[in-house]
């Protein structure tokens, strides 16, 4: 990793911004927070406009989720990690649909946030346990067909929060657990509205050998 990953934090709570910045800069390797603010414009202007990853609070000063801002960021190819108070399955699924690379609830801690940010910087998806739960419980008509093993990985990951545990339970390696989770996200990236972030995610999966071009 030649260059350091940069991030912009959009959240209406100063304490959350400070906490997120502290977690990211404390990561190994550290992630630089180049801009932060309570308004989405910090992600469009100045240093924030070129940051690798946008850590985005979905509820900016209002009860309604800021789906419009999220859609505009994704359409501009920005890699967004949604960081939300709400653990609402439908909201999480809709964020993925709009092109967010990750949906994290604020109940999930530093480890998940750092990993999600780092994965997003490389156009890779990250699926935290709560999001795995939302995907496992997804019964919408447009949902992609998951294999039995993929569904089982989602549930186990949601239940245990430990990839080692999942790997042991299913008799596979931890990296295979990751592959399953990424493959599931590729399947999700290929449904619904098109977004540059989703295309980049699929392209990355092909590049990583997770899926073949023939699978498309």
């Amino acid at each position: 990793m030649a260059t350091r990953v940069t991030a912009v934090v959009v959240d209406d709570h100063p304490a959350v911004r400070a906490g997120v910045a502290y977690w990211l800069t404390g990561g190994d390797p550290p992630i630089d927070v180049v801009a932060e603010g309570e308004d989405v414009k910090v992600a469009w202007l100045g240093a924030g406009a070129t940051a690798d990853v946008v850590i985005f609070d979905l509820h900016l000063g209002g009860p309604a989720p800021a789906f419009g801002d999220l859609r505009r960021l994704a359409e501009a190819g920005r890699r967004v990690v949604v960081y939300s108070m709400r653990s609402d399955d439908d909201v999480a699924l809709q964020c993925l649909e709009l092109g967010a690379l990750c949906y994290l609830t604020k109940a999930e801690g530093a480890g998940h946030l750092v990993e999600a940010t780092r994965a997003a910087a490389q156009d890779r998806p990250y699926t935290p346990p709560s999001l795995a739960g939302a995907l496992a419980g997804d019964r919408s008509e447009t949902r992609p067909a998951l294999s039995a093993r993929e569904a089982e990985v989602l549930v186990e990951w949601f239940q245990s929060e430990s990839k080692e545990f999942v790997a042991h339970r299913l008799g596979i390696s931890a990296s295979t657990v990751n592959s399953h989770l990424e493959r599931i996200r590729v399947k999700y990236a290929r449904i619904g509205r098109e977004a540059p972030t989703k295309a980049a995610l699929v392209a990355r999966a092909i590049q990583d050998g997770l899926i073949g071009v023939d699978d498309l």
């Binding site: 399955d89 709560s130 739960g133 419980g137 949601f158 239940q159 245990s160 929060e161 545990f165 339970r169």
Partner: protein, 422 residues
């Protein structure tokens, strides 16, 4: 003085009222308890108070009501009085002055008719049944006609005197016939008296002495019969009140018995669901369980969690399953275990017994957790899965409807309870 008296009165007022309330409510409670005891006793014991007729008839609904019982008794008494007056006071003057009646056969006929009405009434009255309205109305009419005939057949100057045996007697007949219908009774008595008086006045200009004698008899007989009518009415009202009081008492008794039963059910229900709590408390009380041991403390933690979950079961919340799972968490958190809860999927309607089966293993697993635990609820319309991953060894047991799988490794336990909605 006046002021102080007023003060003390005012001061005593509310207090007294409060006392009176207290007495009233405690008296009510006592009554309810007594009533409940009566209700739980045998049916015979319940019917016993104030029941003059034991046996099958006493149990019938017709005689169960004290008001109806009293009315029947009054009618029997009136019938007896009427029969005795007709025989004892009516027959002798009829026979003595028989030849003087104009004609005698009319007086005989009137007497026979009145006797016939008495006999007819006896058919119902002696069986303690109320007179049908046709019998009462027809009988009253016949009696009035008989009275008119008997009065018309009187010898001269004998109005309201010995030969006028029918005047007093007819009033009794009317009482028997119309005892249950006081307004009709008053009308019939008025008609009877008015007719007799009219006949008396039409018969010829009465002398002053005759008028005085007539007034005395008229007054004496009428007032006596009216008093009887009033008495009947009073008794009837009292009996109705007694009946209402009895009904209220019975209602209270039933309510008390029901509340008792509900309380009993609740206690047994709780005792079943209390699980480990009762034996644990008993063990602590008699010293066989030592609260200093980790085992006893673990049992206490489990019992506390069970109680907490049991209380949560009766809460009215939109998502009872998660509510109860949260209740399970509370107790572990209070023990210092870091518990995270993750919920996914829409609310699925889970019946209370199934919720108990789903949360029971969670309790067991959390009770064994040492420092960390993750509880998750994952719901889809076809499957509800409640899982716990914790650092501690536990082997939760499932049930027929809710199978439980668990696995332990390196001090970590994973367990999952599953339920498939029908």
């Amino acid at each position: 003085m006046r002021e102080s008296a007023t003060d003390s009165e005012e001061g005593a007022g509310p207090e007294f009222a409060a006392d009176a309330d207290g007495i009233a409510s405690s008296a009510q409670t006592t009554a309810a308890r007594d009533a409940a005891e009566t209700a739980t006793g045998s049916a015979a014991a319940h019917n016993a108070p104030g029941d003059p007729m034991p046996g099958p008839a006493a149990a019938s609904t017709a005689t169960a009501d004290p008001a109806i019982r009293l009315a029947a008794a009054i009618r029997i008494v009136l019938l007896g009085v009427t029969a005795m007056i007709q025989l004892g006071l009516g027959l002798a003057p009829l026979l003595r002055h028989h030849a003087a009646y104009r004609p005698p056969v009319l007086a005989d006929l009137a007497y026979a008719t009145l006797a016939g009405v008495t006999a007819l009434c006896a058919l119902w009255v002696l069986r303690r049944k109320p007179l049908p309205v046709t019998v009462a109305a027809g009988g009253a009419l016949v009696v009035l006609v008989a009275s008119f005939a008997a009065t018309a057949a009187l010898p001269p100057d004998s109005f309201f005197r010995e030969p006028h045996w029918s005047f007093g007697l007819v009033g009794w007949h009317l009482l028997v016939l119309l005892a249950d219908r006081v307004p009709a009774l008053l009308v019939a008595l008025a008609v009877h008296t008015a007719a007799s008086v009219t006949q008396f006045l039409l018969d010829g200009t009465p002398t002053r002495t005759e008028l005085g004698d007539a007034a005395i008899v008229l007054f004496g007989v009428t007032v006596f019969q009216l008093a009887i009518a009033g008495l009947i009415r009073l008794l009837d009202r009292r009996a109705s009140e007694a009946a209402a009081a009895a009904a209220e008492r019975e209602r209270l008794a039933i309510r008390a018995a029901l509340a008792d039963q509900a309380g009993h059910d609740l206690r047994t229900g709780f005792a079943e669901q209390l699980g480990a709590t009762l034996p644990l408390l008993a063990g602590l009380a008699d010293g066989t369980v030592d609260p200093r041991t980790p085992d006893a403390r673990a049992r206490c933690a489990l019992a506390a969690a069970q109680l907490r979950r049991l209380f949560a079961e009766n809460d009215d919340v939109p998502d009872p399953l998660v509510h109860e799972v949260t209740a399970c968490l509370d107790v572990a958190e209070r023990r210092g275990v870091a518990v995270t809860l993750a919920v996914s999927g829409d609310v699925v309607d889970v019946p209370a017994p199934i919720r108990r089966d789903l949360t029971g293993p969670v309790l067991t697993a959390l009770a064994a957790a040492r420092t960390r635990a993750r509880v998750s609820v994952l719901r889809t319309p076809e499957l509800v899965r409640v899982a716990v991953v914790a650092d501690g060894d536990a082997e939760p047991a499932g049930s027929a409807a809710v199978p439980v799988t668990s696995q332990s490794r390196d001090g970590q336990t994973w367990m999952e309870a599953r339920w498939r909605p029908e």
